[in-house]
Symmetry: C2
Subunit: 293 residues, 2 copies
């Protein structure tokens, strides 16, 4: 490992951050999470925010991934064009200080589309390097912005973002459907039926109001609305991700409360999902990048 | 006219209200609009809110349409099942007082779908009665919740709500795309290209993030984003409304700043839109209902 005394890996997002102390043997031996996301730190505040991490986890070099490398972060780390693997990512690290390396995001341009990611690349490449997924295959990475990535030869070949998580949050917090979306989403009959509907009909804006109408007319139970709307959005998302191909094995990576929903919808589409914990993949990726420093 | 001295027609929505004094000859001779929508009045406040209207427009009977008849309004007016015409609506008026009639909404259940409207029925039936649209045909009524209605024999036969207006507002006010959506939406090349894209691909959640990505990568101009995203959502909406049929003449009814956008997207789909001012249709419908009292 380039940083032979160990290092601190930080997954620094828009609204929160998670930091892990990795020892010289590559073990995660201390960690914390807080709500000091990039947007809450702001201009000029990053040296102090970094100091705070070292106070809690030790005076070690830092590998920083996620929105910390965006234009709203500490120092902008330009996107690496896909196909991108660990070598390309490690070569394009941006140094904010002598011991603070920022991981660049990855961009995709092709087929009339363009897309970007920041943070997910560490998990995707870490999962391959750790043997958790094959070097070829389809990966679904749910979150605020779900990413569907096609891996080839262990690199990120192509990917597509679907804004499902953010849309669900907007509907839950600010829409006419808010009062129906308070319940936790479960994989139940309502979820599965809605996922099948979303898989065959992606016109979600035309389906959402009908959920409320059915309840107003006494044709559906309000308790089922949250699972139904989540299923509808995720079903439409999965149809985009599978892109008409015969689904085989699909890795679903991220937080368990989200991966189980996507896995259920992928099953409804006839695919064979297997779930991976995003944190484990992140740590594997961070260690592999640090080895290349 | 049942109310021979004239009356006051009120289109009372969730967040605002518009009131019109109609004289004995059926002319609109005074009006006002304010932000005292149903949600801002609340329990017990309606008699005072009604008194205020009479102070401004005269001591006349009131015909109240819109969300005022919902469970959050003054007195609930149960939905009239479609097919619904002026006679069915007039028979189902709910009287909140001796001189205060509330117009019921209309419901649709069929083909595995359910839907409701409150307020638009006055405009739709008024347009037919005034000869502004044919008794048979397709009507698009954009707003927070766009309604596609099929008229038959002068009645509302079937309809479908698409939440396009609310989704655009959520994206504009609360999403990661907010900073791109401040510009007014124009019918320009970006709008038309996006409308064509939405017409052929309704997976809007999969397209939205790409707009931001293209800008981040320098492949698109931020000034075009608002028109593009509006076009995308409206194109997908129009595809739902046309439902695969060969589009002919389509009436587009509502506020002019919205009808022109939908008319442009309907033209891109090969239809022949013609625009109608929603206020004129509302007044025509209110007069026809009052005649039946």
């Amino acid at each position: 490992m380039g940083w032979s005394q160990g290092f601190i890996a930080v997954d620094w997002g828009t609204s929160n951050r998670r930091a892990y102390r990795i020892d010289a043997a590559g073990r995660n031996c201390a960690e914390f999470e807080d709500d000091k996301g990039v947007l809450s730190v702001g201009d000029g505040g990053f040296p102090a925010a970094i100091g705070e991490i070292r106070e809690r986890l030790g005076d070690l070099p830092l590998l920083l991934a996620g929105m910390i490398g965006s234009s709203r972060g500490w120092k902008e780390a330009p996107y690496v064009a896909s196909p991108a693997g660990l070598d390309e990512i490690a070569k394009a690290l941006v140094w904010a200080g002598e011991r603070e390396a920022i991981v660049p995001g990855v961009s995709f341009v092709g087929g009339g589309r363009a897309d970007v990611m920041r943070g997910e690349e560490v998990q995707l490449l870490g999962a391959v390097a750790a043997g958790l997924i094959e070097p070829h295959g389809l990966v679904c990475h749910p979150g605020t912005h779900n990413k569907w990535a096609i891996m080839r030869d262990g690199r990120i070949e192509e990917f597509r973002t679907v804004m499902t998580g953010e849309l669900f949050a907007l509907l839950k917090e600010h829409s006419i459907l808010s009062d129906l979306l308070g319940a936790p989403v479960e994989v139940n009959d309502a979820f599965r039926a809605a996922a099948r509907h979303g898989l065959s009909n992606q016109a979600v804006a035309a389906e959402l109001f009908g959920v409320r109408a059915r309840i107003l007319l006494g044709l559906a139970a309000p308790e089922e609305a949250a699972a139904y709307i989540s299923g509808l959005l995720i079903g439409a998302d999965v149809r985009t991700g599978l892109a008409g191909s015969t689904p085989g094995r699909v890795a679903v990576m991220g937080r368990p409360e989200l991966t189980r929903l996507y896995a259920a919808a992928i099953s409804e589409a006839g695919g064979e999902p297997f779930e991976l914990d995003g944190e484990e993949c992140f740590l594997a990726g961070a260690i592999k990048i640090a080895e290349r420093i």
